[in-house]
């Protein structure tokens, strides 16, 4: 065991950080520019519409990973937050006659309160019961939305008037493309902030060993409820934007377990422990899904495909593609692997010594 503290490495290397390599930064910058230019590159109505959907899914999967990625608690019920945000915003506009912005804020607040209350019930029980509660949230809200016709329009749907009077369809798509992009950047920023905070360290500790985290002084229940609330608020915000953009809320679609599972699939596929993992996953899965839906919608192929993809991700790459790519890249950079190898060797030695 070396005692020489002179080899102290600079502390920041121990911490999560934005990508340091210059080519990667340039690449990300280019991607952002490309993203912002998208509505002008793709002027067609359908392509713009699909673009909005993809960015919306990126918001959803990033929000999901604020719980699923940090704490390891898998929620299948984030569609509940999405739908509640959408309906609360829609009802705010339609029934309460609020301006769109105010209805949006109301929607986010409603979702946050709902998530905090449901979260208290959900996190009391660890593991399996949590998943069950998230499933129950969706089916419960779906029942309510279909039944409370006077408020939600029932299965016929709720018609929400557009945010800007007289705007063209393609113009509306462009507007909401940017609104969703702003929400995505805000969500990513929040994710990044949590990742770097001691709060984030606590959440990750809960994922690894909840009992141990508690023994080290982490108020695990409060942490989990807070994470669920923040995650739900972003999901609800996406729902609110969706209501104003799409203009028609169908209870079967917004409160569906399949929608919730799409968020999980996208986050896991990209890598739910990485800042841009869920976004990457959304950029791959959402267009594929949209393609199969438009080309083979009647045949249920898109359901089979999502099922198969989820199956493969869960069994063969639960950490997502980002670490897989990183491993591949590391082969080209031998020196960064040295610590690992050395400690593996030490591990071997100490095991040998102990027995």
């Amino acid at each position: 065991m070396p005692n020489a503290s002179s080899v102290r490495s600079p502390a920041p290397t121990a911490l999560p950080h934005l990508p340091r390599s210059v080519p990667l930064r340039i690449g990300l910058g280019l991607l952002l520019v490309l993203l912002l230019a998208y509505p002008w590159i793709a002027p067609g109505g359908y392509l713009r519409y699909a673009g909005v959907l993809v960015v919306m899914y990126a918001v959803l999967s990033t929000s999901w990973s604020m719980v699923g990625g940090f704490t390891g608690y898998v929620s299948l019920g984030h569609a509940a937050f999405f739908g509640l945000g959408a309906y609360a915003t829609g009802i705010g506009v339609v029934t309460l006659g609020l301006p769109h912005a105010a209805a949006f804020v109301l929607g986010v607040l409603v979702v946050a309160v709902f998530a905090a209350v449901a979260g208290l019930a959900a996190v009391r029980a660890r593991g399996a019961s949590f998943v069950i509660v998230t499933i129950a949230m969706v089916t419960m809200l779906s029942l309510l939305a279909q039944d409370m016709t006077w408020l939600t329009g029932g299965s016929a749907g709720l018609q929400v008037p557009g945010a800007v009077a007289g705007i063209s369809r393609t113009g509306n798509h462009a507007l909401f493309f940017y609104l969703f992009t702003v929400l995505l950047l805000f969500a990513l920023l929040t994710w990044w902030f949590i990742d770097r905070s001691r709060y984030g360290a606590g959440l990750k500790a809960i994922r690894e060993d909840e009992e141990k985290a508690e023994a080290l002084g982490v108020p695990t229940t409060a942490y989990k409820v807070a994470a669920l609330t923040v995650s739900a608020a972003f999901t609800g915000a996406a729902g609110g934007l969706y209501a104003m953009w799409f203009g028609n809320l169908d209870p079967i679609f917004v409160f569906s377990l399949v929608l919730g599972s799409s968020m999980v699939l996208m986050a896991l596929l990209g890598g739910s422990r990485y800042l841009l993992g869920p976004t990457l996953g959304a950029f791959v899965v959402a267009p594929a899904n949209e393609y199969f839906l438009t080309q083979h919608g009647e045949s249920q192929l898109h359901i089979i495909l999502s099922g198969a993809l989820l199956f493969v991700v869960v069994l063969f790459m639960p950490e997502g593609v980002i670490p897989a790519v990183q491993r591949a890249l590391r082969r080209f950079r031998p020196q960064s692997a040295s610590i690992r190898e050395q400690t593996q060797q030490e591990l071997h030695e100490s095991r040998g010594a102990a027995t």
Binding site: G72, R124, S129, L257, Q300, I304, G307, A308, L310
Partner: protein, 295 residues
Amino acid sequence: MPSLSLLAQGLALGVLTGGVYALLASGLTLYFGVMRVVMVAHPAFLFLAAYITYFLHAVTGMDPLLTAVITVPLFFLLGVGIQRVLVARIPQESLAMMSVLLTFSLALLIEGGLGYVATGSYRSITVDYATTSLHLFGVAFPYDRLIGFGLAAATFIAIFAVLRLTRLGKALRATIQHPDAARLVGIDTAKVTGIGFGIGLATAALGGAVLSIIDPFFPAAHWDYIGKLMAIIVVGGLGSVRGAAIAALILGTIEAVVQVSGGATEAGLMFYAFLFATLLLRPQGFFGGRLAERF
């Protein structure tokens, strides 16, 4: 306020439906017991079985209930296979969460597959013995429900007897309660776990046969069952077969009574009301096992 006879009718139907829920929930409880796996695909397998029953009946003219002779062993083997080949691959530390996603993917594959092969439209089987009712004390007991309840009860008693009386049952219970200790006393827990999964899935096969004569069905209908069944096993106490059965009967009855006095939505909401009440008041479940305290 509904009339007394309507209430009695609701009660009768509720108990009968509760019996079918109990059958389905016992399967879920077994998966959870032996492996701590929340098997979200259980209702999807239920509908897969209903479709197999439907096509066997349509092609060969077999009695729908008799098809269980084929589907039950088939599903048993399928269950063992799913556990041994798929679930066992998931690392222990992420099992609780990843197994839900794995079984969710199976549910999607089954739903999509059924929709692809059999389209999304409603199917139902009509058998002449199932369309009439037995009248007792002014309450009608439809024969199809009675048959379903009888089969569910018989299966349930059989599972219970196997768990309590046989060597396999002892091994299963030991594996459920303490896998490490079970291994130490020489139980092949991998094998036993596989068998537990097989029995669990076999209940879905039987349930599918019953379902096919009771209700019309379509591929996406399994979603309606997931929430209900999950609520039942939590209220009963995760991992307790007896607790799940009691909870299923009670919740099934409450659902039916509320349905005749209130409405379908209120009836559906009952499951979730009880689920949340259980988690807030008594997270280990009302009738069941000590397992739930830890999971």
